[in-house]
């Protein structure tokens, strides 16, 4: 695992609550807002289960710590998106909180319903970008959520040891977190 320069992280406090909100005007419409919010909620809760940080969705986009939106091409942050595939999304280091997804992608939450070869799993990308928002940079462990690339029609949502070690070194461990449960899931996925 790796961190951003200077190892930035949110707040001094622990436990801590970070708020997030979806943009009122920059969302995709072929997946319902309820389904999108459900996917984001699951993605945030994966990280919350390993560190003493809670994530709460709020309505007020401007005041949220983490602000999520879908954008196309140049969207004013100096990091333009590039159309189908290529760059899928990006997020900024703590305590910036911006999280942008490329509107030009074919986003999917269930590959059984989406046939395109260029379909991209929203939950995998969301879980990855939340890692950036917390302060993790890219990992060279191919199975890790923080690995930089993701093949179309593939899914990578479960935090691996590399992800957990990296984020817990920044924030400490969630008191309810058990390493054994992580090792079990890694062993079963390795066997799979």
């Amino acid at each position: 695992f790796a961190y951003f320069y200077g190892t930035p992280r949110w707040g001094p406090g622990s436990p801590m609550t970070l708020t997030y909100a979806c943009s009122p005007s920059n969302m995709i419409d072929y997946i319902s807002l309820l389904e999108i919010r459900t996917v984001f909620q699951r993605s945030f809760s994966r990280w919350a289960s390993v560190i003493p940080v809670n994530f709460t969705e709020i309505e007020d986009y401007e005041s949220a710590n983490i602000r999520i939106g879908f954008y196309r091409g140049d969207h004013g942050d100096g990091e333009p998106f590039d159309g189908v595939l290529g760059v899928l999304a990006h997020a900024f280091a703590p305590e910036n909180g911006r999280f942008h997804l490329d509107e030009a992608e074919t986003w999917a939450i269930d590959f059984k319903k989406v046939k395109s070869e260029a379909a991209v799993d929203l939950e995998s990308v969301a879980t990855h970008e939340i890692g950036h928002i917390l302060g993790l940079a890219h990992s060279s462990v191919k199975e890790a959520v923080m690995y930089p690339s993701l093949r179309p029609r593939s899914r990578r949502v479960d935090l691996k040891l590399d992800d957990v070690e990296g984020v817990q070194a920044l924030y400490g461990s969630n008191p309810n977190f058990k390493f054994s449960s992580l090792l079990e899931s890694e062993t079963s996925s390795n066997k799979g």
Binding site: F1, A2, Y3, F4, Y5, G6, T7, E79, F81, D82, G83, V84, L85, G86, V87, L88, A89, H90, A91, F92, A93, K115, S116, E117, A118, V120, V125, H128, E129, H132, A137, H138, S140, V141, K142, Y147, P148, S149, L150, R151, P152, G166, A169
Partner: protein
């Protein structure tokens, strides 16, 4: 009469996929000149593996030079690929794979390895 199974047509837009044309650099030799290699170098610069050249007024050349070989080697190390320093099929496949836009060793938002 056997009714034909419902054929699911999968739309293939991969020819429009960004970076799909990087396949033409597969197995390019060090020292070779391949038209458009400057675009591949921009990819490496964007994700933090190559800094802009100071002499040729900020443009990359189309030559597979020593500096680019080092960038390819660093990329392979970072992405957990076999480290060959060459544009082999594993490396080209990884380069073309969709990815996160955050740089791997960004100057703007640096990453330190642990």
């Amino acid at each position: 009469r056997i009714t034909p199974e419902k054929i699911t047509v999968i739309t293939t837009d991969t020819h429009k996929a960004t970076w799909h044309n990087f396949t033409r650099f597969k197995d390019a030799e060090k020292g070779s000149h391949v038209s458009g290699m400057s675009e591949l170098k921009k990819y490496f610069q964007r994700f933090g593996y190559l800094s802009l050249p100071d002499n040729q007024n900020d443009n990359f050349t189309d030559v597979f030079d020593t500096q680019f070989e080092s960038a390819v080697t660093l990329y392979q190390q970072k992405l957990g690929l076999p480290v060959t320093g060459q544009l082999d099929s594993d490396t080209i496949s990884a380069i073309m794979s969709p990815r996160c836009g955050v740089s791997d060793t960004a100057p703007r938002i640096h990453a330190t390895k642990h």
